[in-house]
C-alpha cells in the first residue's frame, strides 16, 4: 500500500498495464515527454519509449480514429482526450465506429482493446469548456462501456479492468479530485469489476445514488441527513454502462426512496435513465418519486458555478423532500 492521489493512481495503473503487456500503447495531446497537461502519463515515454507513449497532433477525431484502427489491429490502445469537453470532435468515431465495430462486422473485427481516458467535471472554475460531464451523451450508445472512479483505489483498479476488458471503455476521470483525493492504493496489480455498483454506506430510509466526484457531495449530504435522523444508503454506481440495475433496485426496494445526483444538466442526463428504470422495476415500493438533483439546464457557467452545481445542501434538501413526500 502507498498513499497516492488520484492522478498518481492513474499513472500507476498505466505503468502497471504497460509493464505487464507489450501491446499497451498510450497516446494523445501532450501525453508524451511532457506527461500530459495533468501529468497522468508522466514518465511513461521515458520508461517505455516513444513508440509506446507519444504525442499526437491536435485532433480528437484523429486520435480516436487512429485508436480504433490500432485496437482493431490487436493493440491495447489507451487514448487520452485532454478534457471531456473536447471529446465531441471524436463523437462520430466513438458512436458510429468504436461502438459498432464488432457488431457490424459480425466480430470479424473489434476494438475491444480500446480505452479512452478523459478528465471530466466541474468545480475548478473552468467555465463552459473545462467543466462538462458528458457521460450521458455516450450512455445512449450500445457497444460502449462507461466507467467513473471516485477515488485513487477505484481509479487504479477500474482503469486496469477497463484496459483489459475486451470491450471499448470510456473512462471518465473526476479532475476536481486529481490531487484532492488521496488514499491507500495497493502497489500490486488488481482490478475492480466493471458493471458492479458499490454500496458505500448502508441505510434504511433513502437511497442516494451518484458516481465520480459527486460521491463526495452525496456522502456529505448523507451525513447531514443523519443528523436529522434520516438514515441514507449511499451507492456509487461506478459504471454507467452497463449499470448495476439490480443493486440499485434492491436498495430502493428496501428504502422506498431514491435521490440521484449528477453534475450534468438535468434533462436527459443519466439520472433520467435511472429514474425511468427504477420507477418501472420498483414501482410498488416507491414511497416518493425518484428525485434528481442535477445541474440546471444551461451551459456550464463560470461565475454562477456554485449556484449551478448540485451541492450538498441541494442534495440534503432533496432527501428531506423525498422523506416528507
Amino acid at each position: 500500500m502507498s498513499q497516492m492521489n488520484l492522478l498518481q493512481a492513474i499513472n500507476n495503473a498505466l505503468m502497471t498495464a504497460m509493464e505487464k503487456d507489450d501491446k499497451v500503447v498510450c497516446f494523445g495531446e501532450d501525453v508524451g515527454h511532457f506527461g500530459g497537461v495533468f501529468r497522468a502519463t508522466s514518465h511513461l515515454q521515458e520508461k517505455f519509449g516513444r513508440a509506446r507513449c507519444f504525442n499526437t497532433p491536435l485532433t480528437e477525431q484523429g486520435i480516436i480514429g487512429f485508436a480504433n484502427g490500432l485496437a482493431s489491429q490487436g493493440h491495447k490502445a489507451i487514448a487520452e482526450i485532454q478534457f471531456g469537453d473536447y471529446i465531441f470532435p471524436a463523437f462520430d468515431q466513438i458512436v458510429n465506429e468504436t461502438a459498432k465495430f464488432r457488431y457490424r462486422s459480425g466480430n470479424e473485427f473489434n476494438v475491444g482493446g480500446l480505452t479512452i481516458r478523459t478528465p471530466y467535471g466541474g468545480g475548478i472554475r473552468g467555465g463552459h469548456y473545462h467543466s462538462q460531464s458528458p457521460e450521458a451523451y455516450f450512455a445512449h450508445t450500445p457497444g460502449l462501456k462507461i466507467v467513473v472512479p471516485r477515488n485513487p483505489h477505484q481509479a487504479k483498479g477500474l482503469l486496469l479492468a477497463s484496459i483489459r476488458d475486451d470491450n471499448p471503455v470510456i473512462f471518465f476521470e473526476p479532475k476536481r479530485l486529481y490531487r484532492a483525493a488521496v488514499g491507500d492504493v495497493p502497489e500490486e496489480d488488481y482490478e475492480l469489476p466493471i458493471g458492479v455498483a458499490e454500496t458505500v454506506r448502508e441505510g434504511q430510509d433513502c437511497t442516494l445514488l451518484a458516481w465520480g466526484a459527486q460521491m463526495e457531495v452525496a456522502s456529505k449530504a448523507a451525513e447531514r441527513a443523519e443528523k436529522e435522523g434520516i438514515d441514507c444508503e449511499v451507492i456509487d454506481l461506478r459504471s454507467i454502462l452497463p449499470w448495476d440495475v439490480d443493486a440499485v433496485v434492491a436498495s430502493v426496494k428496501k428504502t422506498g426512496r431514491l435521490v440521484v445526483t449528477h453534475e450534468a444538466p438535468l434533462t436527459n442526463g443519466f439520472g433520467a435513465e435511472i429514474a425511468a428504470t427504477v420507477q418501472e422495476q420498483a414501482f410498488l415500493h416507491l414511497e416518493a418519486p425518484v428525485n434528481r438533483v442535477c445541474g440546471l439546464d444551461v451551459p456550464y457557467p463560470l461565475s454562477h458555478e456554485a449556484e449551478y452545481m448540485p451541492d450538498e445542501t441541494k442534495v440534503f434538501e432533496a432527501i428531506v423532500a423525498t422523506m416528507n413526500y
Binding site: 477525431q61 480504433n68 493493440h75 458493471g195 452497463p242
Partner: protein, 388 residues
C-alpha cells in the same frame, strides 16, 4: 522557411502541377518510356478474371436490386482497374480499409462468389451476420476490414492499423481507399497528418471518379485534385491514371516499397470516372450529360487491359466468351442459393454488441422472444427458429 522575400507575394493554388502517371494507351500499347509490369502471365490472367468477375457481378446485382431481391447495391463500373490493380500489387498480409466501391480488391483477395452473395442477401452465412446493408463486406481471413458507411472514418483508422503493424515489426502495410468526396471530411485531414507525423506505413489511395453522388469535383475542391494536399502533409504523392491497370499496379508496388522502406505514408490519387449511377438509389441523368458519360465509356479500363493481354497473345475471343459465361453462371447459381438461406437466428440480434451479451441484453432478448411467440406471423423471417 529557407528563403526570404521582401515584397508580399502569394504562392497560388496552381503552384503544384502534379503529373499523371500512365503506362497503357487505350489500344493496349505502352506509352513511350513506359515499362511492362513485373507480373507473369498467370497473374495477368488472374487480374483480368477479377475485372470481369466484378463487372458481371455488378451487372447482375444491380438487376437483382431492380427486381426487389436485395434492398441496395453499389457498382464499380468503370473503376475496376483502380481496385484490382492496386490490390494486385499488395501482399496478402497487407490490411485493406475500403470505402465501398472496391469489390475488385476483395475479389482479388479471394472472397468467393458465395461470400459476396451471402453478404448481399444478409443471410445466416454472411460474415457480418446480416447486420449491414449489401456491399458492406469484410473478412478477417482476407485482411479486409469490414466496410462502414460513414465516409472518411476509415482514414485515421488505417493510420492506426499501420502503426500497429509497424510496432509488431511485420512486413505488412495498410492500404486505405476513399473517394475524392470523402477526402473533404475532417477525418481525411486527421488521418493523413497523423500518418505522416507518426510514420505509419499506409498507402492512401483516393479514387477520384469525378463525382460524390451528384456533386462534381469542381464543387468539392478548388485545388489541384486531392494529390496536391499530400505535399502539404509532407507525404510522398503520386497521381495515376486510374483506368490504366498497369499504371495503378506499378504505382501501388512503388508505394508499398516506399511505405515499408521509409515507414511513411504514401498518397496515390487515381483519376477515373464512375460510369454508372452512384448506387441503386441514384439516377445520374439529373446531374450530368450522356455525352460526358460517353466520353468516359471510351476509356473503359477493362477493355484497355484486354487489348494489352490480346496484344501479348495471352487472350482470345474464345476465352473471353467462356469467361463471361462462366462468371454469369456461377453468379446466378450462387444468387439463387444465397437467396434461399435464412437470416441469422434472432439470438444474433444481441451477440457482438459486447464480447458477451450483458444480462440486460439477455433480458431484452428474452422478452422479445416471448413476444414473438405470441405474434409469430409478425416476424416471419425469424419466428420459426426461436429455439435454434
Amino acid at each position: 522557411m529557407s528563403k526570404s522575400i521582401h515584397k508580399p507575394g502569394f504562392v497560388l493554388g496552381d503552384a503544384l502541377d502534379i503529373p499523371t502517371f500512365k503506362v497503357l494507351k487505350q489500344d493496349g500499347t505502352l506509352y513511350k518510356g513506359a515499362q511492362e509490369p513485373e507480373f507473369d502471365k498467370e497473374m495477368a490472367l488472374k487480374l483480368y478474371d477479377d475485372l470481369v468477375f466484378i463487372r458481371v457481378l455488378d451487372e447482375r446485382m444491380v438487376g437483382a436490386q431492380r427486381q426487389g431481391r436485395i434492398p441496395f447495391y453499389l457498382a464499380s463500373l468503370g473503376e475496376e482497374a483502380a481496385s484490382v490493380g492496386s490490390a494486385g500489387a499488395l501482399k496478402p498480409q497487407d490490411m485493406i480499409f475500403a470505402q465501398y466501391r472496391e469489390q475488385g480488391a476483395l475479389r482479388h483477395r479471394g472472397f468467393s462468389v458465395d461470400q459476396f452473395m451471402d453478404q448481399c442477401f444478409s443471410n445466416e452465412r454472411d460474415l457480418g451476420k446480416g447486420r449491414q446493408m449489401p456491399i458492406h463486406y469484410g473478412s478477417k481471413e482476407l485482411n479486409y476490414n469490414t466496410i462502414s458507411s460513414p465516409l472518411g472514418t476509415q482514414i485515421p483508422q488505417a493510420a492506426g492499423y499501420a502503426y500497429g503493424q509497424k510496432l509488431d515489426g511485420l512486413d505488412a502495410c495498410t492500404i486505405c481507399y476513399f473517394g475524392e468526396g470523402a477526402a473533404s471530411e475532417g477525418d481525411f485531414h486527421a488521418g493523413l497528418n497523423m500518418a505522416a507525423v507518426l510514420k505509419c506505413p499506409t498507402i492512401f489511395l483516393c479514387r477520384n471518379n469525378g463525382y460524390a453522388i451528384s456533386t462534381p469535383s469542381a464543387e468539392q475542391f478548388s485545388g489541384d485534385g486531392v494529390a496536391s494536399r499530400g505535399i502539404g502533409y509532407g507525404i510522398a504523392t503520386l497521381r495515376v491514371d486510374g483506368n490504366d491497370l498497369l499504371a495503378v499496379y506499378a504505382a501501388t508496388a512503388a508505394a508499398r516499397a516506399y511505405a515499408l522502406e521509409h515507414n511513411a505514408p504514401v498518397l496515390i490519387e487515381a483519376m477515373s470516372y464512375r460510369l454508372g449511377a452512384h448506387s441503386t438509389s441514384d439516377d445520374p441523368t439529373g446531374y450530368r450529360s450522356k455525352d460526358e458519360e460517353a466520353q468516359w465509356a471510351k476509356k473503359d479500363p477493362i477493355l484497355r487491359y484486354k487489348h494489352w493481354l490480346t496484344n501479348k497473345g495471352w487472350w482470345s475471343d474464345e476465352q473471353e466468351k467462356t469467361l463471361y459465361a462462366e462468371h454469369r453462371a456461377n453468379i446466378l447459381a450462387a444468387m439463387k442459393a444465397a437467396e434461399k438461406r435464412p437470416v441469422p437466428t434472432i439470438d444474433h440480434l444481441i451477440t457482438d454488441v459486447y464480447d458477451e451479451p450483458t444480462p440486460h441484453l439477455r433480458q431484452q432478448l428474452k422478452q422479445l422472444k416471448a413476444h414473438m411467440r405470441k405474434y409469430p406471423d409478425q416476424y416471419p423471417k425469424t419466428s420459426g427458429r426461436l429455439d435454434a
